[in-house]
Amino acid sequence: MRSLATDAPDGCLLQVSNLSKAFPGVVALDDVSLRVKRGTVHALIGENGAGKSTLMKIIAGVYTPDAGELRLRGNAVHLSSPRQALQNGIAMIHQELNLMPFMSVAENIWIGREPVNACGLVSHRELRRRTRALLERLGVDIDPQAEVRTLSIARRQMIEIAKALSHESELLIMDEPTSALTERDAEHLFAIIRELQAQGKSILYITHKMDELFEIADEVSVLRDGRYIGTASPLDLTRDELIRMMVGRELSQVFPRAPARAGAVVLSARALSLEPQFYDISFDLHAGEILGIAGLIGAGRSQLAKALFGLTPASSGQVWMEGCEVKLDSPRAAMSRGMAFVTEDRKETGCFLGLSVLENLEIAVLEGDFVRCGFVRTRAVTQACAAMSRLLGVKTPDLHERIENLSGGNQQKVLLGRWLLTRPKILILDEPTRGVDVGAKAEIHQLIARLVAEGTAVLMISSEMPEILGMSHRIMVMHEGRVTGILTREQADQVKIMDLAAR
């Protein structure tokens, strides 16, 4: 371990000065300076597209800045690759998952650093042992030999965290590590962060969840539109003051709950099962209501959503819509009945990364009025997509930008827009505001409330307790593939939900 003596005189591990970075059409960072002290958790907040990830990627050697300087332990450094950053003691957990789906957990974590035995071959036993020890420390129960593609997204996030931890680096960058985790896993992560902090390591932590700041951060820096706004201790600021720094205006924090004016039943599920994912699920969904689904990782919530949308149909049970039993055996069938599905995994099942924002928005509505004799009516479609993108406030230079180049939260907005364009009667949302900033989150909540007021039925899976409690009219709680209770808005509170989810 490098000694403290080599630090800059003021105990500053990393100093970023006057950093700028532009991409075609956007100035992502504009003269940003930042200091990270040793042994602290330094949080970084800002709206979607504020430049947080870009700044972190520069520190982790992914991008090279257009101007500015990085000083590590007082010495100027040039990081031209993530490898070089790692050698300098900087590891990063990226916002999007970067694992190899067909390789095992252990291979993913130790790739390029596999332990070798006496013959110079990879020692699989040692590999497993190390992986098990690492995962134990994180408090997760994952088989080191499992193929990554078989694991849920939350599990994969834990593996990313384990991978970054395994480098034993001095500065650990975490870009929205909890966006895919439930509160319990997040608690584990916080415990580890405190442990690392006690060992004198520094953590740069990006989040859109305000509560986390007050829980773990020693310092908070705010970015807005690529510019540095300020740094403070979360103890000196209120939540509202922080939000004002982020968005530059006042923001209502109340959830726009649509009045409980539930209409007719639009979908009823009866004894749906798909073993071993979920068993015997029954519920009714009314027009004009939000039915929240709460539960821990592995509770089968996303599997249920996929089954309803016809992706992996249930093996037994019935679904009734408008008085008839329906067979939802493909997404097409579900869509023709007015269903829409925003999936939880942006990168794998959501975005067409190589295609433009426009192509990503339009893909689910290429029918009816928008197509004539197979020809897409480009002007009409483009207008509709532009209107949707404005409605959601997607931050992009124009609709022909590749979606890959948008910030994570803006990609999420595009995916939501894709499905809103289909004017669904039943909207299934799996973590709809994952990675979306507070301002945009409030806007999306407002939008959902408006749709619901117009009679749309919403099935919303969310691991964010405030979102579930704040938005839902009723809350269905799942535990290990079974429904353990359906609470009304009045009955529900955090304790009851956690109780039902973890029983």
Binding site: A22, F23, P24, G25, V26, V27, D30, Y63, T64, F309, L311, S330, P331, R332, M335, F341, T343, E348, T349, G350, C351, F352, L353, G354, L355, E359, E362, I363, A364, L366, E367, V371, G374, F375, V376, T378, P397, D398, H400, E401, E404, R418
Partner: protein
């Protein structure tokens, strides 16, 4: 602040300009560069102009028309993230079947003695049907089993070549009707090539078929969730590619006024090369017909340029291979540059 804003608008404008610059432009420059190189070498080595010879240009395009027709189909397959190795063999089968139905009554030992002097539409439709059937086989295998496209079309490639040989036990089919031979005469193959290119250029850019093709290549899972019938669409794409190979087989046999089981040997590789030189990415989601047309012309220029300079066929192949690899490297470099912009 106003200055920063102004800066932003300027950046946005230059970005739009950069994006407005079609990706084919760089490959078009390669084509022009190669043509001019041969022109220069022509004056130095053989004291003739390469380009100012109408006949040579016609022959050059004629030679690659067949490859071009196949490449139009292969490009679409590559955009879906797949590959089609069967094209060359399908050319052979269709050439045999179509020729056998296009024999004139002068034929000494006709394949079907009772079916001679048929109207030209019969062999043409039969050829297209054979091509479509081969494409359907490819598509069905790929859509409904988990066999990767490389293996599925490799299987069809081997079998189709076998069928072509078995069809007449290796005997060539000759003495075709004049009407049939006309399909390969004059500039007709060039017209067919440019016609199919135009049709599928429009289909890929302006129709739902095209949008779905790109979406499937970019992310098949997301495509399925967006309501696209991925399996059905893949079958359509492979069937189109097979039909175009069939069309290429018809043109090939008409040009040669005979059908032979060895026709179309390695055409699939030239077609893939044309698509990839033209900017199609084997990772899927990327590719354009205009690029493929330019890629085809590059292959044509190289072939006829070397013949013009009277350089050995061996060298031709060596250089052709190098050009293909160089084009792909250049393409990857361009991708990386546009992705990182760092």
């Amino acid at each position: 602040m106003p200055q920063a804003l102004a800066q932003r608008t300027v950046d946005a404008r230059s970005a739009r300009r950069a994006r407005g610059f079609p990706p084919e432009a760089s490959i078009l420059l390669v084509l022009i560069g190669l043509a001019l190189t041969f022109e220069l070498l022509g004056w130095i080595l053989v004291r003739q102009s390469f380009l100012l010879n109408e006949q040579r240009l016609v022959v050059m395009i004629l030679q690659v028309s067949v490859i071009g027709i196949i490449a139009v189909g292969v490009t679409q397959v590559i955009i879906t993230g797949g590959i089609d190795l069967s094209s060359g063999s399908v050319v052979a089968v269709t050439a045999m079947v179509a020729a056998s139905l296009a024999q004139s009554s002068d034929a000494v030992r006709a394949v079907y003695p009772s079916l001679t002097d048929l109207p030209v539409l019969v062999p043409v439709m039969a050829g297209l049907a054979v091509g479509a059937a081969a494409g359907l086989a490819n598509g069905t295998l790929i859509a409904y089993t988990s066999i990767p496209p490389f293996i599925a079309t490799l299987g069809v490639m081997v079998s189709a070549r076998g069928i072509a040989k078995w069809y007449t036990h290796g005997q060539p089919v000759s003495m075709l009707t004049d009407a049939y031979a006309d399909i390969g005469g004059g500039a007709v193959p060039v017209m067919i090539f440019l016609g199919t290119a135009l049709i599928f250029h429009i289909a890929l850019r302006y129709t739902r078929y095209g949008k779905f093709t790109y979406a499937i290549g970019a992310n098949p899972q997301a495509a399925r969730i967006s309501g696209i019938n991925v399996a059905g669409h893949l079958i359509v794409v492979y069937t189109i590619a097979g039909t175009l190979s069939g069309l290429a087989g018809i043109v090939t046999s008409a040009r040669a006024v005979s059908g032979q089981a060895g026709m179309g040997m390695m055409y699939e590789l030239d077609a893939i090369a044309a698509a990839v030189i033209g900017g199609a990415s084997l990772a899927g989601g990327v590719g354009r017909i205009t690029g493929t047309v330019i890629g085809t012309l590059i292959l044509g220029v190289v072939t006829s340029g070397f013949t013009f300079l009277r350089i050995d066929a061996y060298y031709q192949e060596i250089v052709k291979g190098a050009i293909i690899v160089a084009a792909v490297i250049a393409d990857q470099y361009r991708h990386r540059a546009s992705r990182k912009r760092a």
